[in-house]
Amino acid sequence: MISFSQVYKRYPNGYEALKNVSFTLEAGEMALINGHSGAGKTTLLRLIAAIERPTAGSIIVNGQNVSTLKDGAIPFLRRNLGLVFQDQKILFDRTVFQNVLLPLQISGFSSRAAAGRVRAALDKVGLLDRESARPITLSGGEQQRLCIARAIVNRPSILIADEPTSNLDADYARDIMDMFKSFNQVGVTVLIATHDVELLGGMHQRMFTLSHGELIA
């Protein structure tokens, strides 16, 4: 469950990225955040993962008030979130397998139990046969799927993706979107930011629209 109430985010230089944003996404729901670039989509997602803190208002994620969370508690919040970043943040000096393994190492899984989970995650995104490949040898769509595998390997209750279909052609993008839908069908709460509404024309999803930091729909 994600709930924003009267959230403001103002940067030190005076720029207001979010103004009075309130919404609630129930557990198991799926929604898209849509808006022009610079509308505040990324900021909104970053607030959920406590990468940034709101200037005012409260943010509740899985019953925890993120806006007042102590620094020491943030890692444990993030372990319950699957994050797919706009800039991917793949580690190119390790294999596909090791990239997906990282969240499990952080949670302290033994290597045997972890290996099974990594393969299951890679299987879900269709990269099982590439586990020992270097990420640099993957195509753009495959790299995006690697990021998704890394996000879901911890079996998070919430999946958050920032522009997961940018730079992908329509077929790949539709694949990715279908993947998110299938995660949602097994009970994962999914929140996706995208500027590409046309691509999602066929999707009947709940949709939030941001414009200049305000939620207009």
Partner: protein, 302 residues
């Protein structure tokens, strides 16, 4: 418990891999640490050896009483009974001036010269072994017996041992100071190696933070790395000292044979060796800790 173990195993393996992946750099850092540490530790070994050497030569400290040349036999008997009753005197023997002259004739090979002398220039003497060998008691005994009327001069044979002892004390202070300074250099080496590592692993640290790594998780491999590097450096210092002792001992054996002494250099004791290793590991850990605490907070996810 198993999570804790798995985290530490992961950090340990990671630290070892980082040490092994840059063999030349690691080797140089370890050499710097080893050489820096072999200096104070080597001097320490030298001092310990000097001390055992002084113990071997001086044995029980003895006090010599030389009587006045004109002392009569009655005075000698008086001193004898005084010494017998003295609580701090464990044993004593009397060397009459005649027997002293005989000994000197035999020992020095100057019999002809001595025969040419008009009279016996040597005094009667007592050689005393004290019951308590602490320098304070010996000194007090020397002063007290020196006051007796027939005594011309009282001399502590162990005066040179005392001088050596204070010299050793000075040496230990120097070792401590040198050790302190060079320990600081070990901390600096660890600090800088870790700083470079953090800079080159910026992406990795950032991603780890974003997917839920605690500060401890990120810090741990660096701490293990520092401790490992320090400990291997300490081992290098130990090897350098071993080699030094081995080479010196060969030379020394010849020298000692000339002096008819049976003296072997001894190495750092097991306890000292362990202290050396643990201390250098701790210093590496401390340098790494300083570095990580100082640099890690600057890497925040963007």
């Amino acid at each position: 418990m198993s999570v804790w173990f798995s985290h530490h195993l992961h950090a340990f393996v990671l630290a070892f891999k980082r040490l092994a992946i840059t063999p030349l750099g690691s080797l140089l850092s370890i050499a710097v640490i080893g050489i820096a540490f072999s200096l104070p530790a080597g001097i320490y070994v030298l001092l310990e050896n000097l001390q055992s050497l002084s113990g071997q030569f001086s044995g029980e400290p003895e006090l010599s009483l030389f009587l006045k040349l004109d002392a009569r036999e009655s005075a000698v008997a008086e001193i004898e009974s005084h010494l017998e009753q003295h609580p701090h005197v464990a044993a004593f023997r009397f060397i009459s001036r005649d027997s002293a002259l005989e000994q000197f004739k035999e020992g020095s090979g100057l019999a002809d010269v001595i025969d040419g002398l008009e009279g016996n220039p040597l005094p009667d003497a007592f050689v005393i072994t004290a019951s308590d060998v602490s320098p304070e008691t010996l000194e007090a005994l020397r002063a007290e017996l020196g006051e007796l009327p027939p005594v011309e001069h009282a001399q502590l044979d162990s005066a040179w041992a005392k001088r050596l002892d204070s010299f050793l004390r000075l040496g230990r202070l120097a070792v401590l100071m040198l050790g302190g300074l060079l320990s600081f250099s070990l901390v600096a080496v660890a600090f800088n190696t870790i700083r470079l590592q953090i800079l080159t692993m910026r992406d990795e640290i950032e991603v780890a933070k974003l997917i839920g790594a605690t500060k401890g998780f990120i810090r741990r491999p660096f701490l293990y790395f520092g401790a490992m590097q320090g400990m291997v450096g300490g081992a290098a210092a130990w090897l350098i000292i071993s080699l030094g002792i081995h080479l010196t001992d060969e030379q020394l054996r010849g020298l000692m044979a000339l002096y008819d002494a049976n003296f072997r250099l001894y190495h750092l004791s097991l306890e000292d060796s362990l202290t050396l290793l643990l201390f250098s590991a701790w210093l590496g850990w401390a340098g790494a800790w300083l570095s990580v605490t100082n640099h890690l907070w600057r890497i925040e996810p963007r």
